[in-house]
Amino acid sequence: MEHLLDVKNLSTEFNIDGTHLKAVDDVSYHIDKGEIVSFVGESGCGKSVTHMSGLQLIPTPPGKITGGEVIYKGIDLLKLKPDGEEIRKIRGGEIGFIFQEPMTSLNPVLTIGEQIMESIILHLKVGRAEARRRTIDMLKKVGIPDAESRIDDYPHQFSGGMRQRLMIAMVLSVNPKIVIADEVTTALDVTTQAQILELLRDIVKSMDTSLILVTHNLGVVARYAERIYVMYAGTVVETGTTKEIFNNPRHPYTIGLMNAVPRLDDPKDKKLVPVEGLPPNLANKKDQCPFLPRCVFRTEECHSSPAPSLNEVREGHAAACYVDVSKVQNNNIVEDEVASSMIVGEQEKPIINEPALPEENLLEVNHLKMYFPVTKSIFKRKVGEVKAVDDVSFYLKQGETLGLVGESGCGKSTVARAILRLYNPSEGEINFQGQDISKMRKKVLRPLRRNISMIFQDPFSSLDPRQTAESVVGEPLIVHNLVNNRNEYTQRVDELFRMVGLDPALKNRVPHEFSGGQRQRIGIARALASEPSLIVCDEAISALDVSIQAQIINLLESLKEQLNLSYLFIAHDLSVVRHISDRVAVMYLGRIVETADWETLYDNPKHPYTKALLGAVPIPDPFIEEEREHVVLKGEVPSPLNRPTGCSFHNRCPIATPECKTIDPSLSEIEDGHEVACINI
């Protein structure tokens, strides 16, 4: 059978400052009509460049397609002129591209109608009036309310999720044969992610369009894809149907990825198995298996042989590996590797009985409110308030981890900043070690600050690019006068480096010389420097690749045991929060709607919002996903400026009753330690 799109031996290089980066190295794949195919891999594995190369969308220079064929309808797209008539007809007209960042992918100075109509007029050769009519139809199809009037709005008047719908409308308005969706939901919240992917799937299925889903999220793959290509270091390392690959992964990297991701259905004590090491540098690629240095299955043969090519292991399932993984007792190997690679592991004691938690609370937040004034006109008249945090209470004991989850804009980061007194709370108490710090004067507060640290989200922008790693980590020691002399300082910095698994010899480097995971380790070392009892982790791992994520989660967990730390772990990834937390609080629009210990919350969620959140998280297992019922939460998180009356969730709630519009529920205990804010349970 002839494939709709057939790519053979595609290679793309980037020539930067004289070095050739082999971003795509001899990649072959095909797409058939109407199927959903997924490309999985971590950042830098070449999955986006592969698809951009096919349409000649990579910037040249520095990029250069060095070989291969991209056959679409009998024509090799790589032979066409990059800006010629023929390829432009296919680009956008037959093969559409949806990009990752909905916030920046639409032109801010043109109306959305103009941007969609432009495509329709160009590819379908219709007049403006007809194009406008079709645009409105398409907007309705992707779920934009009030399409007739909103067609003349500008992109900034839409939310991120809505903008991604607009992108989908734009691409699908011209009836393309193939749609390439490049990490389309990575920047979106989990309930929005579910909405967008369900929408995309339904539309392509109804139009019999093929969909290429480029993603790093194994859950998304398991839920939506029919076939998979796993990419690593610019090559396809494994391919097959989704079920076959999840059931019977044959490449060590695929296996590594699956073990590194925390899942909603994991047993709690499962230790994540990170893929140790770092992805290879694409500049000095040798003719050798690219995964070799990180592989736990490697043999002598791998060292001496050239890079393996894809070999069929079963019908329709191929892997690029010399070792037959299924015949190796892999469990032992993995365990051994983990033990030897855990640098902090030396002092780690086996977990026997967890020590009983102390009676008194380390941190107690009572009725915390954080309002920001909204001003208008030149006289800065106050016209309203953003109630970012509205009456939030919780506690945290020494040695405990409290997970705070919620979607963007729910106020979880504001809570973190208020606890660190980066904001001055509008109302409420923050009792830390028995003292209310919410209104404490800065001078009085300063000596207490060493007891609370923070780990930030973005390891790339939260470190001063001109400070050496040593001074980043050592600064708190000096600020809080924790060392007496130079010698002590050096010793302590080295100790901190070793604690987070970094070689102290690297301490004179500046942040850009480290990888993302290493930078986050520096951030953790900085947080540990002042020997705090509480560390606030604000989305501390969400910017990292999954294999690196697991390394950092394990590090945080073992540090907690060693040093008896308490974490306030703020994240939007429910699987990670489940894995790391003792207790969990779910926030919605500035309030906690449900709180319980992790087991109760995940196994027996009561609040409809918690249920919806959990339902929206895809589980990286196609068999489970097939069985699961997908309830997609409708609508979007309202702005805290005009919070709905009564229960603020009532307009999206599947079980809302008329009373919900008027009654504002407060948290009430339904069983020991399990509190829910809902009147209908």
Binding site: P59, D83, R91, G92, F99, N107, P108, I378
Partner: protein, 314 residues
Amino acid sequence: MTQFIIQRIYQTVIVLFILSLFCFLLIHMIPGNPVLTILGDEATPEEIRMLTEELGLDRPLPMQYLSWLGGVVQGDLGTSIIYREDVKDLILKRLPPTVHIGITSFIISIVAGVPLGVIAAVKRGGWIDGFITTSSNFSMAIPNFWLGILGIYLFALNLGWLPVQGYVSPTEDFWASQRYVIMPSLVLGLSTMAILARQARSSMLEVIRQDYIRTAISKGIKTRVVIRKHALKNAIIPVVTIAGLMLPNIVGGSVIIEQVFNVNGIGRLVLQSVFNQDIVVVQGCLIVLAIAVAAANLLVDLSYGYFDPRIRYK
């Protein structure tokens, strides 16, 4: 948008108020007694008394300012000490050549500068880019009086294409007027043009690597259309800002250019009045130029709203 306009007008009024204060205080910034400075050593007490009264210097400072400001608002800028002529009439007579040359040079610098910058950005790294970048650096470095003299030497004296100097009003003879205006306008606008070209180039380079440009290309639109329709309107906003900031440059440059080309405009009037110590005229000219610059900047600010819908709908 209405609020944006009101806010900008309000800001402009404050700026003008502060400027008027500086203009007014100018007369008191001259070291010593301004009356003596104006009249010289041989003045009789009678003359001194009369001038003091005429300038209102015998009244308290706030009163002097208020009455001066009241006059300015009503269009009364006082009487020239030297020419014994109404300053307003004097300025109105001298204004047209300056405005004519100034506007022409501003238009030339935008109309030529922006496209040159855009072309350089699109052809980044090529010889066209190199040529435009180098010549704009060069243009910024040349002093304009020297360039003016060189232009007169080459185009007027040697080639005889353009008149040597002077000014003819367009109402008198439209085509002759253009021939008189073109050289001073070019000379005056060259450095502005160069700066705008550089700004347009860097802002275009910034825009063409944005995600929405990638989106536009992936839709199958021609590169030329992508640049014109998707990139330009985004890239122009910082250029407009710089253009607004360059206006005082043009006004200031006119003082020198009018001298070199022997044009009887405001620039020359200011210069002559400074030498003549005709403070009232200097004051009048400054306040008129200040209002012109502030008004032009207001227009520039308001044009953001046209280019950027995010400002319009705030």
